[in-house]
């Protein structure tokens, strides 16, 4: 079927098989390969993107379900001048990654969390990451990064 998805602000239109998953649409049609396929069973969160502003696991959404909607991947977080999103900067500053495979999903889950809860407690951050697995087990620095990104992420939303 023909689907049109706004990905990181650009309209991507393609005729794809009905069974195409959003994550494959992003990687193979839009050529945006930052979003990883991890477990492929709605568990690990590596494929997390924003669909109409909310975090979703793109391995469990059909491209057809995203037709006409707005998707943001980690490639779309930097602003027009190329400056990284506060959550990305915080992951760098706090060393919130080891191998990096879970990172795009972690960052998108964090962006969605801070959108819904601009100043979360540490416990709330940990709960919000229940659907994102880091097999390096580097959770402490990830949580630290998200907590430290909260004020700047709020500022960016209000500006």
């Amino acid at each position: 079927m023909k689907v049109t998805v706004t990905v990181n602000g650009s309209q991507i239109e393609a005729d794809v098989p009905d069974r195409t998953l959003l994550v494959h649409f992003l990687r193979d049609v839009a050529n945006l390969t930052a979003t990883n396929v991890g477990c492929d069973t709605t568990s690990c969160g590596a494929c997390t993107v924003l669909l109409d502003g909310r975090s979703v696991k793109s391995c469990t959404v059909l491209a057809a379900q995203a037709d006409g909607r707005d998707v943001v991947t980690v490639e779309g977080l930097a602003d027009g001048s190329g400056a990284m999103h506060p959550v990305q900067r915080a992951f760098q500053a706090e060393h919130g990654l080891q191998c990096g495979f879970c990172t795009p999903g972690m960052v998108m889950a964090a962006v969605s969390l801070l959108d819904e809860n601009p100043s979360p407690t540490e416990e709330e951050v940990r709960s919000a990451l229940e659907g994102n697995l880091c097999r390096c087990t580097g959770y402490h620095n990830i949580v630290r990064a998200i907590l430290s990104a909260a004020p700047a992420a709020s500022e960016r939303r209000s500006s």
Partner: protein, 273 residues
């Protein structure tokens, strides 16, 4: 993993969804949030030839106050239930249980109706609507009918819905007082299905993952009605159940968990009043 090929059709109204179901027969399935159906399709455990996407039917997404009951549209997501201020006041049990399903991403997509029609005995919300004595509204080609939650769950992944029928609404009588509730979910990891779960609202007690369907702990309810204390009542928790044995736990351990969790739930519920 990619699902087997199917034809995708999108409905823009309940009537159109029902028409599409009639046209496509038993090989068609309704797709709501897709968080039960798509994983099954990726594993090829479900191979529908046609998917009828009802995900854009805004008319089925709501939480409404209707005098003595709360009306919940079948397409309301877990996240919307968890954030509903109406539920926070009138049905805190449902709001809380929804906030404990899966993880944030799953709660953004998964719907109450999808969970109920999937009828997984390890799922939380089927036991919640059972404990709340909800009535489920199904629409089919012949019109609408009401199904009591106690009659809805027929077996493993099996409900009272007929082919072509669509669950549209869940009607829940307002519990009085709303505050006497508890939801206990025993898992190894946060996002896991309950090994055993317990739902209490007033004197009604329902169990998650203690049989082929969610079940009411009638032995506990009868003991409570006869004036038993929480510990004595909880001793009846596993009566009449047939818990599964699987990689997480054997049946006897589940029976033990049911008694422990029912006791905790009754104590928590009583402490809220």
């Amino acid at each position: 993993m990619i699902p087997a090929p199917f034809t995708y059709k999108r409905a823009w109204s309940v009537d159109e969804a029902l028409d599409l179901a009639v046209q496509n027969g038993e090989e068609a399935k309704f797709l709501a949030g897709g968080h039960s159906l798509l994983p099954l399709m990726k594993l090829r455990l479900a191979v529908p030839e046609v998917l009828i996407d009802i995900g854009r039917l805004g008319e089925l997404s709501y939480v409404r106050d209707d005098d003595s009951q709360i009306l919940v549209g079948a397409l309301t997501t877990y996240d919307e239930l968890a954030r509903s201020s109406l539920l926070a006041g009138e049905l805190p049990l449902l709001a809380h249980a929804a906030s404990r399903v899966g993880d944030p991403q799953i709660r953004h997509r998964g719907t109450i109706g999808g969970s109920l029609v999937h009828a997984d005995p390890a799922a939380d919300l089927p036991a919640v609507v059972l404990a709340l004595d909800a009535t489920l509204i199904a629409r089919g080609p012949g019109g609408s009918r009401e199904i009591g939650a106690g009659e809805f769950f027929r077996g493993l992944f099996e409900t009272a819905l007929q082919p072509g029928e669509l669950l549209t609404e869940i009607r829940i009588p307002k519990p009085r007082p709303a505050s006497e509730w508890s939801f206990q979910k025993f898992t190894k990891r946060a996002i896991d299905w309950a090994i055993v779960g317990v739902v209490v609202q007033g004197g009604r007690v329902a169990l998650v993952n203690m049989g082929q369907t969610p079940v009411r702990a009638s032995g506990v309810e009868e003991a409570l009605a006869a004036g038993a204390g929480t510990r004595d009542a909880a001793a009846h928790a596993a009566e009449g159940t047939s818990p599964p044995t699987d990689i997480n736990a054997d049946g006897r351990y589940r029976e033990h968990l049911a008694r422990v969790l029912v006791a905790r739930a009754l104590e928590e519920s009583a402490a809220r009043t």
